[in-house]
């Protein structure tokens, strides 16, 4: 993974669209398409999309910080939506197999809540995919900041410096 560049003032100097390779742009935009993984298999299982997003991130995170940022942002958002969807499906299964419960108003309220967030997630993911394809950074609410910190923030910079220090370097023996 490339080093984090800093300006004279210590601010992170992000790569610009023309500095990002076509391959990186494609890999970054691909991260946002993992939500369709479950659809592709034809099963309404929320964890399938999460697993796809997780695997994608693990494979691509070392390619470049730009790709890692986008795939991590997608993974974080996918995690949240997968949890919401999983709760819905578990609730539905419990209702269907129970003789005591029925479709209460609470269930329908939660259902519409989950539908709303799935729609929001789909829209922002498509925007993120489009922006990544153009070599641009696109920050989701809350998760954008977390992903940025993970790959460009202070912690990432410290990690990079530590990595450099630990890197093996040929030196003469002491005293020479």
């Amino acid at each position: 993974m490339e080093d984090i560049k800093l300006t004279a003032g210590g601010q992170v100097k992000l790569p610009q669209p023309d500095e990002i390779s076509k391959r990186e742009k494609e890999d970054a935009s691909g991260a946002y398409l993992m939500m369709f993984a479950a659809w592709g298999i034809g099963l309404p299982l929320p964890f399938l999309s999460f697993i796809a997003a997780f695997i994608y991130h693990m494979i691509n995170k070392k390619k470049s910080r730009f790709v890692a940022f986008h795939s991590y942002q997608s993974l974080l958002t996918e995690s949240l939506v997968s949890i919401l969807n999983a709760v819905l499906i578990i609730w539905l299964v419990v209702i269907l197999f129970s003789t005591e419960l029925f479709f209460s108003n609470a269930f329908f309220i939660y259902l519409f809540f989950v539908i709303f967030w799935n729609l929001v997630y789909t829209v922002v993911s498509l925007i993120g995919c489009f922006k990544a394809k153009k070599g641009q950074f696109y920050y989701f609410l809350v998760f954008g900041r977390i992903s940025f910190n993970a790959y460009y923030g202070k912690r990432a910079q410290l990690k990079m410096q530590r990595h450099k220090q630990l890197k093996a370097e040929n030196k003469p023996p002491d005293g020479f």
């Binding site: 269907l96 003789t99 029925f102 108003n105 709303f116 609410l141």
Partner: protein, 282 residues
């Protein structure tokens, strides 16, 4: 506008709150589908499924049962049912359904409220009654399931989304109708639904001038013989326990006695009604 971390979290929380409000709005403000008598269904959102959809299902089921030619149309039977129906229906507030009470030939001791106000009584059950008031008690209970739309709730739980889409898109086929009938017959109402139907029945009987004691009698009879043959006595194989229901019926009977000095009995000749019922082997 510069987005600080705090502003982002605030915006996120506002969007979550907005989505909850939207969901609440959709569930509570959806038009067309109010409970047919405005009664509390215990929070079931089945009210959002329209009455007209339920009526469509009723037509489908009636057609299928009609095709099997099992209705009993003897004048003594139909007259007795009509008397019960005309006594009860004006007492049900805001009823959106066109109620049909039909008897079919079967030794099964069962009665079922299908969607759309269709109530099917099996001739086997009528044979266990001693008078019109006892049958009226059973019908009052089924009317309770009707106004609470319990059968729709069962259907929604029993079937896959694709089947429901089939119904919504107006699909009609004998296989669909048979599947609905089989599913409703084989499903059990929940304890809350049965208790709700019982409470409704007690109130309706009292309003109609019929003593809920007749309901207690029915529970007593079937408590004694339930379990001898599960298939025939299916009506009583559901929870809550029959003795609990019988006790509640007796409590309502006390309330009736406090309110009325005598019962407003039906005029049907019950022996004639029972004689008119064919054996399943006819």
């Amino acid at each position: 506008m510069q987005r600080t971390p705090l502003k982002e979290i605030l915006i996120f929380i506002i969007i979550i709150a907005a989505s909850i409000l939207i969901a609440l709005g959709i569930v509570y403000l959806l038009p067309s589908g109010e409970n047919s008598s405005g009664q509390d269904t215990g929070g079931s959102a089945i009210d959002s499924i329209s009455i007209s959809l339920e009526n469509n299902l009723k037509d489908l089921i009636k057609e299928q049962i009609d095709a099997e030619n099992r209705y009993i149309t003897h004048p003594d039977v139909t007259k007795a049912l009509a008397e019960i129906k005309h006594r009860f229906l004006p007492l049900i507030e805001n009823n959106s359904f066109d109620v049909d009470i039909l008897v079919i030939k079967s030794d099964m001791v069962n009665a079922m409220a299908f969607p759309g106000g269709l109530i099917i009584i099996y001739s086997g059950l009528i044979k266990y009654t001693d008078n019109a008031e006892e049958l009226a008690a059973i019908i009052a209970h089924e009317l309770g399931h009707m106004v609470h739309r319990d059968s729709m709730n069962l259907l929604v739980r029993s079937f896959t989304i694709s089947f429901l889409l089939n119904i919504v898109s107006g699909g009609r086929s004998p296989e669909l109708a048979n599947e609905i009938i089989r599913s409703l017959i084989n499903s059990s109402y929940s304890r809350e639904q049965e208790e709700g139907a019982d409470s409704f029945a007690f109130e309706l009987l009292i309003k109609a001038g019929i003593n809920p004691l007749h309901m207690a009698h029915m529970f007593e009879k079937f408590e004694k013989i339930a379990g001898t043959d599960e298939e025939i006595f299916r009506y009583f194989s559901t929870h809550p326990p029959l003795d609990t229901r019988r006790k509640k019926a007796l409590e309502s009977a006390v309330e009736f006695s406090n309110r009325y000095s005598e019962e407003n009995k039906f005029t049907s000749d019950w022996d004639a009604v029972k004689k008119a019922l064919p054996s399943v082997f006819d």
